[in-house]
């Protein structure tokens, strides 16, 4: 039967199939892109410790940091944005792994300037412990980034731990 309905149904269904197929092709077109296209990270290190205080039983550290990194290589045609974030990781007696985001920044593909250049920038989120265990701890700062596609797969990237910088918080509150 070749009624209008059957034809409409066929056209819509075929259109959707083509769109889905194109989306899948777009998703797989850039698999492996991150192997040869890493951002260039010049510096990521702490500059100044502003304070280390106890707020109602939990320790809170505030500091400023330097970051210079070029994210232009990570972009390709199926990337909508790169979510860049700095994590502070440390170890305490109670908790083996502590990873806290202290700063984040979204670089959109439409933004022509894909270089992050911070000098003595204050952290966006304070480094807050679950308990009162921050004094005298070694804190590692590491840069990570999340590739957010227009359509397709999400994948992460991170600065090698061997290149991450470490600083030590003071033994006393200040």
């Amino acid at each position: 039967m070749h009624t209008v309905w059957v034809r409409l149904n066929a056209v819509v269904f075929f259109g959707l199939t083509v769109l889905l197929g194109l989306s899948c092709l777009a998703a797989i077109s850039k698999i492996g892109h991150s192997y040869s296209n890493q951002p260039v990270i010049h510096t990521l290190e702490v500059r100044d410790l502003k304070s280390l205080k106890s707020h109602g039983g939990v320790d809170r550290a505030l500091f400023s940091f330097d970051l210079h990194a070029d994210f232009a290589p990570t972009f390709h045609w199926n990337i909508k944005q790169i979510f860049v974030y700095v994590i502070a990781s440390y170890e305490t007696e109670q908790k083996k792994v502590n990873k806290v985001v202290v700063h984040d920044k979204i670089i959109e593909a439409t933004n022509p300037d894909k270089v992050l250049n911070y000098k003595g920038t204050f952290v966006k989120y304070a480094l807050v412990d679950q308990g009162d265990d921050l004094r005298g701890k070694d804190i590692t700062l590491q840069l990570l980034w999340d590739h957010m596609p227009i359509t397709g797969l999400l994948y992460m990237g991170e600065q090698p731990l061997s290149e991450a910088s470490t600083f030590t918080l003071p033994e006393e509150y200040q």
């Binding site: 039967m1 979510f83 908790k95 792994v97 806290v100 679950q130 999400l154």
Partner: protein, 184 residues
């Protein structure tokens, strides 16, 4: 013209009713489509170990990464979720799951994690969204980690939810087509 088409469909249905063998065949056809869809859904649930492997983004709290109407594919077969991952979680006694990013991870020796989340587009973390008195999420609260995205498709779901009548119209029409189309 519309009336003409409806008349034609009614005529087809009447013919179908008269021919019981054909009716049975078409009904089986319909059942096969329904069960295939169910099988794909359950298969995805099995592979991803997630109770809802595909979710629709309902709010703008993750903009510009995800907009209302985008769909996300989830994977819950990962051992541990990490800081910075986009995850979908559910708060006890609340129906609608939330898509946000992990801001903090604290893990003890036994591998028990406590997580704090935040929406990219929100100014504060999610403590206010959690159950009263709840400070941290645990691994069990996570429905899955977002591994892929497809844009706009979820708009259909949102439309169907906003206008329930549309649901019946659409399902009814699809059923009718399957029943009356001869080349099955």
């Amino acid at each position: 013209m519309i009336k003409d088409m409806i008349d034609k469909q009614v005529l087809e249905l009447k013919k179908l009713w008269a021919n019981k063998r054909q009716l049975l065949f078409q009904l089986l056809n319909l059942a096969m489509i329904v069960f295939s869809a169910l099988m794909i859904w359950k298969g995805l649930m099995f592979l991803t170990k997630s109770e809802s492997p595909v979710v629709v983004v309902l709010s703008g709290s993750m903009e510009p990464a995800f907009q209302r109407g985008d769909i996300l594919f989830l994977n819950n077969a990962v051992e541990q979720v990490g800081v910075g991952d986009v995850v979908v979680f559910k708060i006890k006694d609340r129906d609608i799951p939330i898509v946000h990013r992990i801001l903090k991870v604290h893990e003890d020796e036994n591998g028990k994690v406590e997580l704090l989340t935040k929406g990219d587009n929100n100014r504060v973390d999610d403590r206010g969204l959690y159950a009263p008195g709840q400070l941290w999420l645990e691994r069990e609260d996570i429905l899955g980690k977002a591994v892929g995205t497809l844009r706009y498709v979820g708009m259909v779901t949102i439309a169907l939810n906003d206008y329930p009548v549309l649901k019946y119209v659409l399902v009814g029409m699809m059923g009718l087509f399957v029943l009356t189309s001869k080349e099955g």
